[in-house]
């Protein structure tokens, strides 16, 4: 026979179905939020690693004057070398629209069927590609709106424009996705490379190391030994690329997202605890008279405590039953979206057991912990305390406020009553206020961080006062290039900003850079910055910009400065450019967003360090009269034709439009995540208010009866309750806005440092402030309406006989 107390528990659940459903929903929303984040976190962490490691990434890429089979075989026998393979890559141009070009990185694969290192997988079409065709990395499809069978116009540095067919698609998870980098990746055979106008010989040696493959120092040591051996064998060793071991190019971006999500999930946990406390308070308020009666007929405190803790467990179980599958589903979908954005294949959506355990603990243990004290306190209350005119008693600490409010003549009495009621139960009031303020501050923080990010990017764009950057395959006469380009219609100004890959100084003279095969992520460049140029603003972090005549001076951006943590302003640092070592004096450090590590020097310094003729240039920046995408496209076409007429081949054209595309591509995922989090916070907050208002109505049931008995109309009670809800909502809004500032600063600092090595600016998003105000008002009215309507529908008899 089931004990009547458990029957009571079950029937209480049934009779207060709406309220219980709301409680379950509120806890479920928190479980959902944390579940979404945790499941996305675990899936992405696992899948990024699996995708990247599945390619068997090479430990290093050595650029030699030639790489042949005999060398590869010999290298495989070298100490510390696990495997070796030959490849090559060429940066060419792809015509995506008439006169609109985009970089295309062609990877040359000698044997598609026997790839050993940094591999990729066929997706559709031919495998291996026929000669004079290419395989396209799948993520580039949308970027250039092309499909298998289409013909692309490609031009290599030394070749003519040629039409080349896409014969298949591949997936290369070892590269950052095309849409983010605004670069197309394609794979060809050596014969196709020769057909495109380049030599068919391979120049890149991929190797993997045998010992400590995830230790960059160990890799460097092995590569150093190998390079010395290669030199001894008569090979010229040029640039050596050692990407961060076992790390996807966007691992740090992913880490930033995941860290941010985890921070928010911790905050969601706090919110969930506050919400649960509010809910439990409401539940106890509803049940307190019955608790008093049960105690009067012999129930002991621990029996009552056990009963209500069991109720909380039941609600928690229901909440996790709802929150876990939906949260995990949303997390899996979110991971899918992020995976797609990062060009990953999600092999498995499976979640480890610990995720379920954390979710279960969150949904059941946290409500229990939070509920234990109020339940215990209520259970321990004396029968007299509970039964003495519950619901009409005056709270002594609200009395002063009531007296003060009573003196206000210009506000409607109903509103004054609502204001007074707000402070009637200080504990519940502060809990609700805390909940709403926490939800509000997190909502505003989400959008503040988003705004900070966007501002950062727009500032970065605003700091670039040029429309085009053109890089040449070979150094050209600056005067000639100037003459050709500056005479074209639409061109306002041209400046030479030479660029050369730089490497940290090593005593063995090796030119080692920490970059991926795409040459972008982790790259380090030396650039010449014309004296007095106004084409680039770079906010100083420390020190100053170089001045004319300071031939030893160098200014680093913050990414480059990270390579020299011990070098102070005025200190010296050594760089290797084109195999030559130069010592510079650090003049300043500037902030540049989404710009790879760069060292700026004066043009004459660059010429000396990179061993190029001072009158030559390999990169120019151009300012146009008009700055829209169409104008940029037109002038680019004209420049292209004018240079081609003088037999000058452009290596790559980087337009402001492309830079914007690349930068916004990198932040899209963050913005998406932040908005998702903000929405979850808003839902939790409104649910909390609804719970609190229900509690308030329950606590005041008798008071409403008395009000009705003395002539209050339903409308009056409705207005009273809704006013109270809106008042709490507005108060929480006032608290939430300042609270969001330190939170935004903290998260902005964390995310900014992870992404840019520079904290995001603290910006209070005006739209977030307004949107949350609207949400809180609408939410407060919505959350109060149901309990208000219930209160207004109660009859005098029901309210006064309320048990």
């Amino acid at each position: 026979m089931v004990s009547p107390r458990w029957k009571k528990l079950w029937r209480d659940l049934q009779s207060a179905r709406g309220r219980m459903v709301m409680m379950v929903l509120a806890i479920a929303v928190s479980v959902f939020g944390v579940g979404t984040i945790l499941s996305a976190y675990t899936i992405l962490m696992r899948e990024v690693t699996q995708n990247y490691m599945g390619t068997n990434p090479a430990s290093a890429f050595l650029e030699l004057d030639r790489v042949d089979d005999a060398l590869v075989q010999a290298v495989r026998q070298q100490p510390g070398i696990l495997d070796a393979e030959a490849t090559s890559w060429v940066t060419a141009r792809l015509e995506v629209k008439p006169d609109e070009w985009m970089p295309i990185l062609l990877f040359v694969i000698p044997d598609f069927n026997n790839m050993r290192l940094s591999t990729f997988q066929p997706e559709s079409g031919d495998w291996p590609p026929k000669e004079q065709t290419l395989l396209l990395e799948r993520a580039a499809q949308q970027l250039i709106n092309a499909k298998v069978g289409d013909t692309l116009t490609v031009q290599t540095p030394n070749g003519p424009k040629l039409g080349i067919q896409i014969s298949g698609l591949v997936h290369d998870p070892g590269l950052a996705p095309s849409w983010q980098e605004q670069t197309v990746y394609a794979y060809i055979t050596p014969a196709t490379l020769a057909w495109l106008g380049e030599g068919s010989s391979l120049q890149i040696l991929k190797i993997s190391v045998r010992d400590q493959p995830e230790n960059v120092s160990a890799i460097e040591a092995t590569v150093g030994t190998l390079a010395a051996w290669l030199k001894g064998q008569g090979y010229a060793v040029d640039e050596i690329r050692i990407p961060p071991p076992a790390m996807h190019p966007h691992q740090s971006q992913m880490n930033s997202i995941l860290v941010m999500l985890l921070v928010f999930s911790l905050l969601a946990l706090v919110l969930s605890a506050i919400l649960t406390a509010t809910m439990i308070g409401g539940l106890l308020a509803q049940q307190i008279r019955q608790i008093g009666i049960m105690k009067a007929i012999g129930a002991r405190s621990n029996q009552i405590t056990g009963l209500y803790l069991a109720l909380v467990v039941f609600l928690g179980v229901a909440a996790v039953a709802l929150g876990i599958p939906t949260g995990n589903f949303a997390g899996q979908k979110f991971a899918g979206v992020v995976g797609e954005l990062l060009n990953l294949t999600i092999f498995s959506q499976a979640l480890p057991a610990w995720v379920y355990i954390v979710e279960l603990l969150m949904g059941i243990l946290i409500p229990l912990i939070v509920a234990y004290r109020p339940i215990q306190q209520t259970s321990r209350a004396t029968v007299r305390e509970i039964l003495s005119d519950y619901g009409t008693r005056r709270e002594t600490n609200a009395a002063g406020l009531d007296r003060w409010l009573g003196k206000i003549r210009w506000i409607d009495n109903t509103l004054l009553l609502a204001l007074g009621n707000t402070f009637r139960r200080p504990g519940r009031f502060f809990l609700t206020l805390g909940l709403l303020a926490a939800a509000g501050s997190m909502f505003v923080t989400g959008l503040n961080v988003k705004t900070g990010w966007e501002t950062y990017l727009s500032d970065a764009a605003a700091n670039r006062h040029y429309d085009l950057e053109i890089r040449f395959n070979k150094p050209q006469s600056a005067a000639t290039v100037n003459a050709i380009i500056s005479n074209l219609p639409g061109v306002e100004r041209i400046e030479s900003w030479n660029i050369a890959p730089a490497a940290l100084y090593r005593s063995d003279g090796l030119n080692i850079v920490r970059t991926y095969p795409d040459g972008g992520h982790g790259s380090f460049s030396l650039r010449s910055a014309p004296t007095g140029s106004t084409l680039m603003d770079a906010p100083l972090i420390k020190g100053r910009w170089m001045q004319a005549g300071e031939v030893e001076a160098v200014v680093l951006n913050q990414n480059a400065a990270a390579f020299f943590p011990d070098v102070q302003i005025g200190g010296s640092l050594k760089l290797m450019v084109n195999g030559r070592t130069t010592t510079f004096q650090l003049a300043g450090v500037v902030k540049q967003i989404l710009t790879p590590a760069t060292a700026y020097v004066l043009p004459e310094t660059f010429a000396q360090a990179a061993e190029v003729a001072p009158e030559d240039t390999n990169a120019v920046r151009i300012v146009l009269n008009q700055h829209d995408a169409a104008a940029i496209r037109t002038v680019t076409g004209n420049i292209e034709n004018a240079l081609a007429a003088e037999s000058i081949n452009m290596k790559v054209v980087i337009s402001e439009t492309m830079l914007e595309g690349a930068t916004s591509g990198h932040v899209y995922i963050f913005i998406f995540a932040l908005i998702l989090i903000s929405v979850v916070m808003a839902v939790v907050g409104v649910l909390g208010l609804m719970s609190s208002m229900s509690t308030s109505v329950i606590e005041r049931t008798r008071e409403f009866g008395i009000m009705r008995a003395i002539g209050a109309r339903s409308k009056t009670i409705l207005r009273n309750v809704i006013s109270e809800g809106v008042f709490i909502g507005l108060l929480s809004w006032i608290v939430a806005i300042p609270l969001s500032l330190p939170l935004s600063w903290g998260i902005g600092y964390l995310v900014g440092m992870l992404s840019f090595r520079s904290p995001l600016p603290l910006i209070l998003s005006p739209s977030a402030v307004v949107v949350w105000l609207i949400l809180i008002i609408v939410g407060s009215i919505g959350a109060s309406f149901y309990p208000a309507r219930q209160a207004s529908c109660l009859t005098v008899r029901e309210t006064l006989a309320y048990v």
Binding site: P4, R5, K8, I293, A296, G298, A299, R300, S301
Partner: protein
């Protein structure tokens, strides 16, 4: 069935009441002070009172005279500011809340003015609840006992209905049955007829009178003077003092 209940009654009395004193209730100099907005309010001013087993005592007085406070002292719902309260020789004023809950559940049956049945439990379940809390009677026998008690108060046919489906009088009878659930020697009723019509009031009063005749001690707060015929004794309270304490001839 009734005999079985009475048997239980005797057995339980032997178990729960340690020393069978001649006085079931004994109050010595009980004072109760409340702090109110204007200072201290003395609800009881040094009350001395003795109630013998089997008495049916009415506590009467105007509103605010201290009636409810007095019975709250007896039930342990409230504690005296000074003085002593003994019920069946148990020093109630010395018990903590946990001890009070156990003691009250086993030794006192309380009947409230507004019945205070738990709305989500059936009438029978409401009566089983005190047995459950106090772990009295084997679980299998509890419902049987609840039905027997409902028979005793005349509403056995309402056993499986919810309190809301019963009339006021029926709810009060159910509340009396609940008060008898653990077979206490003392029944305390706080204006049990205050919410009932006169005909139903008479029936409920008769029920209490019968219980007193069966050996239960009943202390009832009331301000309905025309019910005085049921009581064996009447205590009149005024401003926290007992101003009259007289036996009723027709009790």
């Amino acid at each position: 069935m009734i005999a079985q209940i009475q048997n239980h009654h005797r057995k339980f009395q032997e178990e729960t009441i340690p020393v069978r004193e001649s006085k079931l209730i004994e109050l010595n100099g009980v004072t109760k002070a409340y702090t109110v907005g204007t200072g201290q309010f003395l609800a009881l001013k040094g009350i001395d009172l003795e109630v013998n087993p089997g008495e049916f005592v009415a506590v009467v007085g105007k509103s605010g005279s201290g009636k409810s406070t007095l019975i709250n002292m007896i039930t342990g719902i409230d504690s005296p500011t000074s003085g002593e309260v003994f019920v069946a020789a148990t020093p109630v004023h010395e018990l903590n809340q946990e001890q009070l809950a156990v003691w009250r559940g086993k030794n006192i049956g309380i009947v409230f003015q507004f019945f205070q049945l738990l709305p989500t439990l059936t009438v029978a379940e409401n009566i089983v609840l005190p047995m459950d809390f106090c772990n009295r009677y084997p679980p299998r026998e509890r419902r049987q006992r609840a039905i027997a008690l409902l028979e005793k108060v005349g509403i056995a046919e309402q056993a499986d209905k919810l309190p809301a489906d019963l009339s006021g009088g029926q709810q009060q009878r159910a509340a009396i049955a609940r008060a008898l659930a653990n077979d206490p020697s003392l029944l305390i009723a706080d204006e049990p007829t205050g919410n009932l019509d006169s005909q139903t009031s008479d029936a409920v009063m008769q029920l209490f009178a019968n219980l007193a005749k069966e050996g239960k001690t009943v202390v009832m707060v009331t301000h309905e003077r025309d019910l005085s015929r049921y009581f064996t004794r009447s205590i009149l309270l005024s401003d926290g003092l007992i101003v009259a304490n007289k036996e009723q001839k027709n009790g």
